[in-house]
Symmetry: C2
């Protein structure tokens, strides 16, 4: 028998067994994560344990030194940065990373939680997910800490999370363009129903106001963070009657789509069109020209999230929310409108490479 069978707990466990209509050893098996218990029985017993406020008194069977990282999709160029962040912290704590994909877009399914309870990780880092109350309850009753990496800026007040400063990022990107003298700056941001898109849009709007420029709704487009949405919206903007001289994109992928839309129209970047991305994922450095972009510290965010698992909240305290700073990274896709000498190129000898304009 195990450590949880001390007097106080024993009464509870016996009661739980009775209520669940199972034997005490079956309850014990559930508590010890044994696999020879049916899913239905396990769920019933756990529900009752949680309802009775049961928390294991002492350590149960040794916890597996795993940190579980949950994605709802692995397609994103973000994935590698996040994995690396979690892996760094796991390694420092002599743990290993388990990767799982949650069934649906925003919430891990019942199959997932069964797996977690079998694996007994040291903790769970969820990317971009919201958790049903039932899942939170089960993780808590097992003392498995969890934290959400939430770049969407829409934290569950009940769950510790790590985000980044979206509003400040939108402000910095737009100010960079207005400081260069751009007066028609378009924004192609993320989905309208995501708070991060709205925060960046508000930052954009404030930067325009600070520069004494009007806010023109025709220059605002909501996309989906993918290359094609940048391509399509930029094409539409550039083919319009009053095309922008600069586009602030909601992701680096959208910005790459903007570059391609410009190229197909014979527009040079940055001479004819300035482009600023968001995220600073590796492809931002590899594009032609390399992208000016807002650095979202994805790896650092994942590290912070994983660290939270190893120093959990004080019980009963409010869930923590950490928001990390974003910063502008200036590369070669932005400059003054019309290709006038940009501040960054004042010293021609120090320019990143001789530039023979194809249009000259």
């Amino acid at each position: 028998m195990h450590g949880e069978d001390e007097v106080g707990a024993k009464v509870t466990l016996a009661e739980v067994a009775k209520e669940a209509g199972v034997s005490l050893p079956t309850v014990s098996k559930v508590l010890n994560g044994r696999s020879d218990v049916s899913t239905g029985t396990r769920a019933k017993v756990e529900r009752l344990l949680a309802a009775h406020g049961y928390r294991r008194r002492v350590a149960g069977p040794p916890r597996t030194p795993l940190v579980e990282l949950v994605f709802h999709e692995l397609d994103s160029v973000w994935a590698v940065e996040l994995v690396k962040g979690v892996e760094n912290v796991a390694k420092a704590n002599r743990a290993t990373v388990v990767l799982t994909r949650s069934g649906t877009r925003h919430a891990p399914g019942p199959e997932w939680i069964e797996g977690v309870l079998r694996r007994r990780p040291l903790g769970v880092v969820l990317v971009f997910s919201s958790l049903p109350a039932e899942v939170k309850r089960r993780l808590r009753s097992w003392d498995i800490p969890f934290v959400i990496v939430d770049p969407a800026g829409d934290p569950d007040p009940d769950v510790p999370s790590v985000g980044s400063a979206n509003w400040a990022g939108g402000l910095a990107a737009t100010r960079h363009l207005t400081d260069h003298g751009h007066e028609r700056v378009a924004i192609v941001t993320g989905p309208e129903d995501m708070l991060c898109s709205r925060a960046r849009l508000d930052g954009y709007r404030s930067a325009l106001t600070m520069a004494g420029l009007p806010f023109d709704p025709r220059l605002v487009r909501f996309g989906d963070f993918q290359v094609h949405s940048g391509f399509a919206h930029a094409g539409d903007l550039l083919d319009g009657p009053e095309p922008p001289t600069a586009v602030f994109a909601g992701s680096d992928l959208q910005a790459l789509g903007v570059l391609e839309a410009a190229r197909l129209r014979g527009l040079r970047v940055p001479e004819d069109l300035s482009v600023v991305g968001y995220d600073d994922v590796p492809p931002a450095q590899w594009s032609s020209p390399p992208l000016t972009t807002v650095h979202q510290p994805l790896r650092h965010m994942a590290e912070e999230a994983a660290r939270m698992l190893f120093r959990p909240d004080v019980p009963g305290g409010a869930a923590r929310r950490i928001e990390l700073a974003t910063r502008l990274v200036v590369r070669q896709s932005s400059g003054p409108p019309g290709g006038r000498a940009a501040p960054a190129r004042r010293v021609p000898g120090r320019a990143p490479g001789a530039r023979i304009s194809a249009g000259a």
Copy 2:
């Protein structure tokens, strides 16, 4: 006591205990993957077990439903494709993926093998690694199957592996360019000491021969698969006395570097320079223009590798080697030299977008 304690095994285990100078229960602990055995003792006992040809007679403690995926680095744009492939197969087999990073560039260190033996995965997929004999022996004595995803084309004859057709890929890329009429085709390939680089170079050479073109060593460069190496070598080639009209790069990242070198020299792609990449990782679709490239079926390779774990080799049989086909994906970075009407653009109305040449 456990299933391995049948008569034949018992003798062996007692002998092993004696030889190792430990108690029989300690040997049993090692066999059951318990963590309360020192690393030194565990290694000694396992060495002796392996030396005596010990193989567990029946299943030991339940194997954890984990598939271990080992990278020596996670930086590569390949990582996500490989993780997805392994994850697909793991999920289909109700297993979860554990990600680990091996210490050194080519071989997992001693710390890694200790962790694997503690975790007891169903199997191990290694990316790009070679395994020291000692590690192979320990994995085998534990009946943990392992397989190598080996895009480098340098298989250990002793280990099952999955690669892809590098020579055929080099041939297809180069023929595509010579078929378009290019006569000065440069190659910027991977490191000189990697067989995949050599295989692609030989494919390139054969395609030139088949097109009746001479092989000019001045058009051959060895790089390191990174963006910068494509950028630097292409710059050097383009600034030379007889610049190529087409460059076949050893990776998509190198090809992106070639695009940037061309842009800085005012060269249009594909009108002034055709560029073909290798790998077909997502950034190949996002570049401006999108890259013609050789598709290396990374996800499929990882799937094949993971599947091998679930249907291991016949004991004593030769290690399997599977080589998957590569294929050319034609996008917009390649065409005839001098921008003559390309076959793909014969019907102007069906071109991917109106193209106003910046140089016109």
